[in-house]
Symmetry: C2
Subunit: 416 residues, 2 copies
């Protein structure tokens, strides 16, 4: 938290002020931009936004004044789907895939998720924390101030809890806010290969109650896929999680329709994530149940694929879309939210404004934080970015730019 901070001479102050709910349809483009603006922060919260001329007399003498010199200010990015904590990396597999190896061949050679599981199990809590901190710092440099982070490279009691504790420690040390999700249902661990029912029973009867009791996770997620868990298995896991008070998120329909999106609607999940293969019919189910789709173009790009999720159809269907990185060592070693905006525009046909709303305010709502962060409105936590750019569209336009936003969390500059 900071004292009083006044950011003046903002060329474009993108407030995203508006209705207190996720934005849909044309609302996604309504950024509520104030030009020649001042942003006033008191006690870590937005105290006022308005034209420089209007607010000039309201800036206290003792305020810290930041001169934006005509540049653009937006809310900090909220990355609502990441696998932040893991050991090692899979650059060797990246090279193998480019040379033509299939995901199946890599997995058969000991690669894939299970390689990361083995490395993560072998790492101490402090080692995992140091590695996660590096990734968190990358995200902060790109302007991400809130990060959803999933377990799921442990798949046993000790390591799943270790990952969640690392996430809690990262959240406590700040400055980025970490929202924790239990993803023990990421894949079946090797020791349960021929006993998948036992693994599911263990999650339902032991792990989920334990995690819920510790308060180490707010959400439970599952990977519903032919290579992970069936719809029925996923239903069992997530129903138990819901009964223990956890919110629900769901890896759904990444590789084949019918793998989880309808279940997300049935269970009232907060989000259905991926959805590369979702059908239009299913989009209606998500809309009716107020499930937010989380679009993860980084994993499409980094897998060298082109089947981006049908974002425009989702917007037309009235869905409150969210844009996230899916940062992970396998399918999406991509930590940058600005690059997600570029992919959203270039590959999914979203406008820069739609992409920005999806990656800030709508993402905040998907984490139950829509009344706290995601827009720059009076009373909200002052998480914001002072960009190198004068126009918010440049965030997507200058693809992969080594630009450096100045990053503020609760009004305090935390630029790395």
């Amino acid at each position: 938290m900071a004292g009083t901070v006044a950011v003046i001479h903002i060329g474009q102050l993108v407030t995203l002020a508006g209705p207190q709910r996720p934005r849909v349809g044309t609302e996604l483009r309504e950024l509520n931009v104030i030009e020649d603006a001042t942003l006033l922060v008191k006690g870590g919260r937005v105290a006022a936004v308005g034209r420089d001329a209007e607010l000039r007399t309201r800036i206290p003498k003792q305020a810290t004044v930041v001169d934006a010199e005509g540049r653009c200010v937006t809310p900090g990015f909220v990355d609502a789907h990441t696998h932040l904590v893991f050991a090692g990396n899979r650059a060797a597999e990246f090279e193998q895939r480019i040379a033509g190896a299939t995901y199946q061949q890599i997995a058969a050679a000991g690669g894939g998720i299970l390689r990361t599981v083995a490395l993560t199990r072998a790492a101490s809590e402090d080692q995992l924390l140091a590695m996660a901190r590096r990734h968190r710092d990358w995200m902060l440099r790109g302007g991400t101030t809130t990060i959803e982070a999933k377990s799921g490279y442990g798949l046993d009691d000790a390591t799943e809890l270790r990952m969640l504790r690392v996430q809690a420690r990262l959240n406590n040390e700040g400055p980025a806010r970490i929202v924790s999700t239990l993803l023990a249902a990421h894949t079946v661990p090797p020791e349960f290969t021929n006993r998948r029912d036992e693994y599911i029973r263990w999650m339902v009867e032991a792990l989920i109650p334990e995690v819920a009791a510790t308060g180490l996770a707010e959400y439970c997620d599952a990977f519903c896929d032919d290579h992970a868990f069936t719809v029925n298995e996923t239903r069992v896991v997530l129903t138990a999680a819901r009964a223990h008070g956890l919110g629900l998120r769901l890896h759904a329909e990444q590789f084949r329709p019918g793998t989880g999106a309808a279940l997300a609607a049935e269970l009232g999940a907060a989000t259905a994530d991926h959805l590369e293969t979702v059908t239009e019919e299913t989009l209606g189910l998500l809309r009716a149940a107020n499930v937010q789709p989380v679009l993860l173009p980084g994993s499409v790009f980094a897998l060298g694929r082109t089947n981006y999720p049908p974002a425009r159809k989702m917007v037309e269907a009235g869905l409150a879309i969210v844009l996230a990185t899916d940062f992970n060592p396998g399918s999406s070693p991509v930590a940058s939210m600005p690059f997600m905006l570029s992919l959203a525009c270039l590959e999914m046909g979203l406008s820069p404004a739609e992409a920005l709303t999806a990656s800030t305010l709508n993402a905040a709502w998907s984490l139950g934080l829509g009344d706290t962060i995601g827009s720059l409105e009076i009373g909200k936590q002052a998480d914001f970015l002072l960009h190198e750019f004068t126009d918010y569209r440049e965030i997507a336009y200058f693809v992969a730019a080594p630009a450096r936003p100045r990053v503020f969390v609760a009004g305090k500059e935390v630029t790395q």
Copy 2:
């Protein structure tokens, strides 16, 4: 230039040592990596490379010691095709294109190259320098230490020379080396629309001799395309440039085969750039004439297209491929060489090693600098990067990572 610098404890020192010529075929993968290495720099040049244990006794007491802590060192990137100097940006057109506007519609509405020409003509030399410096700084942050930069947004005597002077000033102020190319044959300026022959005659009889006499450009380039200059027109321009001692580069076959690659071979150009539509037959001509293809995947990506140039076929044809950004405000607002490596691997099937050679040593050769920069061999200028990564493959793998290499030019740290 610096005194003696010793970079010790390098986990992977990627030297690219080898034959003193552009690399082709399997040579592209021969990075000559030394593990647990030391790099010794004296007077701005590489004085020694070897194992830590071997070089320990050769580090002078007064040397500046940099501990790489196991991380990776590579040569600095050489970006052999950029349009670094321009005024304004085209983020509005980016938005229009996403919304479905065609390049032709945008041009008809006053957009496209001619919009940048109008803004650039209206900008003073100091204004252009300030804007170019910003882009140069982005490139430096991404690890680019040498930048080829083209004029071509002036298209009149005063502005073309102003752009070239800005490039010369940037080169003089350092730390990045700027290699200048005259690109007055970028498009026909509006005042010559119905007198294209006169524009060509002016280039040949006035501008090229003037520029050659000033020494403000080392190369001459032309955009051979249905919307720019025909093969015959391009031949006239480049033949004149060659007669005045300028090296030749050529925008060729971006949108249609038969637009310039054969001409590049005929004229003995240093490079043929773009080549998205080049045929296999033409690759043989380039090989026979030792023309280096410059691959520009950023412009394919940022135009939302998928017709990446046939890099693997070029490697098989024995061509000494080069990888560059094509940084420009229209088709490739992409300043990051690491992102080019990601595109090269994911979209063009190059291995991380091939992509690295193409973006350092081979790029240096394409600029006539292969004996000076591009590899870390004794006697060469010590332009190098100390990455955040331990493995060079991570440069391409961690797509668009907000990572920050420490950047050294002539042995001196210039990290931004």
